[in-house]
Each structure stands twice: as structure tokens, then as C-alpha cells.
């Protein structure tokens, strides 16, 4: 069995509402990637499905490619389409 690691998963805005939480701890196999974390979050929170294709992933506060490797304690955020600025 592959050793496990824990990462922190953050949800914002529409993703937070659909997941019903803003933060949770996710257990993943060691060497898991940003994409795998996102896929696991979508499995655990089926209500996120409609947002799925629009969610970008950030790792440790920077946008990450899908194959970016995670480490124990990584902060993984699901980023719905952003809308900062003004009206």
C-alpha cells in the first residue's frame, strides 16, 4: 500500500457553498498531483460537479499545473472563476 499524506483543501465562493465547507483535510497517496486532489474533492462533494470544468487549482497560494506534485501539508485551493475588481 502507498503511504498516505495529508493536504489542506480550501473552497471559496460558489465552490465553498456547494461543498458546504471552506476547509477540510484530504488524505491522498504520496506523490499525488494537483489534478488528483481536485478529482478527489469532486468525488467527495458531488454538488461541485457543475463547477468542475471551471475550477482552477492553486497549490500553496499559486496557480498550479495539473501534474504539479503535492507534499505533506500542501495547501490546495479550488478556485472558481474569479470576479474581483468593480462592477
Amino acid at each position: 500500500m502507498v503511504p498516505a499524506m495529508q493536504v489542506t483543501l480550501l473552497f471559496f465562493a460558489a465552490a465553498r457553498e456547494r461543498a458546504g465547507t471552506s476547509k477540510e483535510t484530504l488524505e491522498l497517496p504520496e506523490g499525488a498531483t494537483a489534478s488528483q486532489a481536485k478529482a478527489r474533492a469532486l468525488e467527495l462533494h458531488p454538488a461541485l460537479a457543475p463547477l468542475g470544468p471551471q475550477l482552477r487549482v492553486a497549490v500553496d497560494q499559486a496557480f498550479a499545473e495539473g501534474d504539479a506534485p503535492l507534499r505533506e501539508g500542501s495547501e490546495v485551493a479550488l478556485i472558481p472563476p474569479v470576479s474581483g475588481g468593480c462592477s
Binding site: A14, A58, Q61, A62, A77, P80, V82, S83, G84, G85
Partner: protein
């Protein structure tokens, strides 16, 4: 560090003072506020939410990119969070430079980059409901 993401009210003068200096002939400042309507629909308020540390990191990246393109430019990016009624200021960007052309371009670049990449979201509150902006639904 002259960037900010917080629930505190914004001040145009404060942002501008952070970038201004006797070596800078020009500053161009952008002030974005809550409009009382959107696509003809009345808006009661906007509610802004941010992933604050990452938003600040993105603001710093925007500043770094701007300085590379327009040497000598200084930027301050301030964004507000929370519930804001029409007329309230949600974002202030101040850009200063010895050259006015650079100040205009850097300020414009900063607001466009912020809108594209800063992890900040707004929800429009109407008399009869609300919706997150940008979901295309």
C-alpha cells in the same frame, strides 16, 4: 509592501501617497466601485470574498510584471472585501512613474490582470436573490 486585501474602507489618497515621490511626474489611479445596477437589473449590494494570502501574492506578481515592462513604475493595489452597497469603493490601484504614458499603461495592466487572476469573488445581491458573478450560469 503596498498591497492590501481587507474589509477596511479604501482611501484613494492613501494608495496614491504610497506610490508618489518627487521623482515621479505622474500618477494614474483607478477607482472601482459598486454600481447600482448590472445589465439593467438593480443591485442592492456586492459581497466580495478573497483568498487573501494568494490575492496578495498575485498583486505582488502583477507589480513585478509591471516593473519589468515599465521600469521605474510603482504600484499599490488595494482591494476591499465584505458586503458593499452601491457607491462603495471595492478596488483602488495607484501607479506612479516619471512618465505619464507608463503610469497609464501600468495602471490599466494592473486592473486587467487583477480581474483575470486575483482569487477574489463577488456575489451580486438583488432585491429578490443573489448570484456569483462569472459562473456563466
Amino acid at each position: 509592501m503596498s498591497h492590501r486585501v481587507s474589509a477596511m474602507a479604501l482611501s484613494l489618497e492613501a494608495a496614491q501617497a504610497e506610490v508618489f515621490g518627487n521623482d515621479c511626474g505622474a500618477s494614474v489611479d483607478f477607482v472601482g466601485s459598486v454600481r447600482d445596477n448590472t445589465r439593467g437589473k438593480p443591485v442592492v449590494a456586492l459581497e466580495y470574498e478573497a483568498y487573501e494570502p494568494m490575492a496578495l501574492a498575485i498583486f505582488c506578481e502583477i507589480e513585478t510584471s509591471a516593473k519589468a515592462r515599465w521600469p521605474g513604475v510603482r504600484l499599490a493595489i488595494h482591494h476591499r472585501t465584505g458586503r458593499l452597497p452601491p457607491g462603495e469603493v471595492s478596488v483602488v490601484i495607484a501607479a506612479a512613474s516619471p512618465h505619464r504614458s507608463d503610469a497609464f499603461e501600468a495602471c490599466r495592466f494592473a486592473i486587467e490582470a487583477l480581474k483575470k487572476d486575483a482569487p477574489i469573488w463577488k456575489r451580486e445581491l438583488y432585491p429578490d436573490g443573489s448570484s456569483w458573478v462569472g459562473l456563466g450560469s
